[in-house]
Chain length 218, copies 2
DNA sequence: AGTTGTGAATCTGTTCACAGCC
DNA sequence: GGCTGTGAACAGATTCACAACT
């Protein structure tokens, strides 16, 4: 039951997030138990992979029976750090920022955008979707006051690096950036890039080289 | 110089996309040659990784000198399938869809959105950002007529699977979905998921378990 | 009988280290 | 001398296969 001493691959973490969604859907359909076989089948993974992923964090199943869905959801939420809600800053209120500010998925998951930062003087001091908008100069101050721990950076590519560095300076340790930013972070910080262009170009690559395409699930 | 017979990992493809951007920036600053050492340093990879990634596709460098930037850009664009522009359908014109429709990155790269599909009868028949909006029922017809090969699916999570299956039925082989969709695709099709929730939860995980965080670059 | 949990085996991707070339 | 290109060594992730348990 104790957490494994081994290291957890980041791919395991991302799969846990996918499993969690899968299992929540299974719960909605009234199921009480689910097997690694079923979880795997829904997502195109192998049952061994699912069990191995879980085993990094303990043993949650009953041999011969499977996993109690309620317990498993609770365990996965705890592992992923979703027992409490997170307070999030949105940096950049352009078109993408506005879409994110109103994105229901944040709220349905455990993330609340509690402050928006934008350089536009017209926006500063007003609200969007009932969330106050501040100057990026106030990042550190507001982050501290509102206990913000995660920033979503949705600014144009040419200012993304500066924006991320500001966020780091403000002491916000978790960062998601929508423009590829690669910087050397202080310890205890994590930066994830959502790189649409890289995804588009990956698709372009495989359409151009169909012979190299993996078969089956994605 | 011939393409390697070995298989290219998808992570190599994604890094090539990052290298390409790096190298284009280097070109802007007037450089003519660049070494694997430099490309690696900018992105936090190892020089060996950069050379190995290139070597999947041939040898583009000059020993003792590095890579000619112009030639390398051309080679990478060809590898990634970016020699010609791609014709893209946008499926779903909600807030995210609108942000994508106006996203300059598509145009700056080699992707042109030439058709939008949305179920809203008010929108069908009109244009957005000068791009015509059609009913999803016309996907196959328009895809064929406009020679669309890539679809960007930006619909609510609960209709994402249906939307992706429609796109597949329409014969569009490259798909990017903004809600996690995991289906068994026919051969020759590729689906990439941009899963914001998984990224948020990955950040949540590492903030909750700072001891498991990798050090250094992301 | 059925399913978990996990060490061992396998497979995949990364890094090393150096021969080869400019 | 310096940097590429690459086989060999290594590290990391996945799958296998089976003992343990209900």
């Amino acid at each position: 039951m104790a957490e494994s001493s081994g290291v957890t691959p980041i791919s395991t973490v991302q799969r846990l997030s996918v499993y969690l969604r899968t299992i929540k859907r299974a719960k909605e359909s009234g199921k009480k138990f689910i097997s690694s076989e079923e979880i795997a089948a829904i997502n195109g993974y192998t049952p061994a992979q699912v069990r191995k992923d879980f085993s990094c964090f303990g043993s949650f199943g009953i041999k011969g029976k499977g996993y109690n869905i309620d317990k498993l959801i609770k365990a996965l939420e705890e592992i992923l750090g979703l027992s409490e809600r997170w307070r999030v800053a949105l940096v950049g209120l352009g078109r993408l920022g506005k879409a994110l500010a109103k994105y229901k998925g944040f709220h349905l998951s455990k993330f609340d955008i509690v402050a928006i930062f934008d350089i536009d003087p017209e926006k500063i001091g007003t609200k969007y979707n009932n969330i106050p908008i501040y100057s990026p100069k106030k990042l550190a101050q507001i982050a501290k006051r509102k206990k913000i721990e995660i920033a979503v950076v949705a600014v144009p590519a040419n200012s993304a690096e500066e924006a991320v560095m500001n966020v780091v300076k403000a002491g916000i340790r978790g960062i998601i950036s929508f423009s590829e930013v690669r910087i050397n972070l202080p310890e205890g910080f994590i930066l994830r890039n959502v790189n649409l262009t890289a995804e588009m170009e990956t698709v372009s690559f495989y359409l151009t080289h169909p012979d190299w395409m993996c078969r089956g699930w994605f």
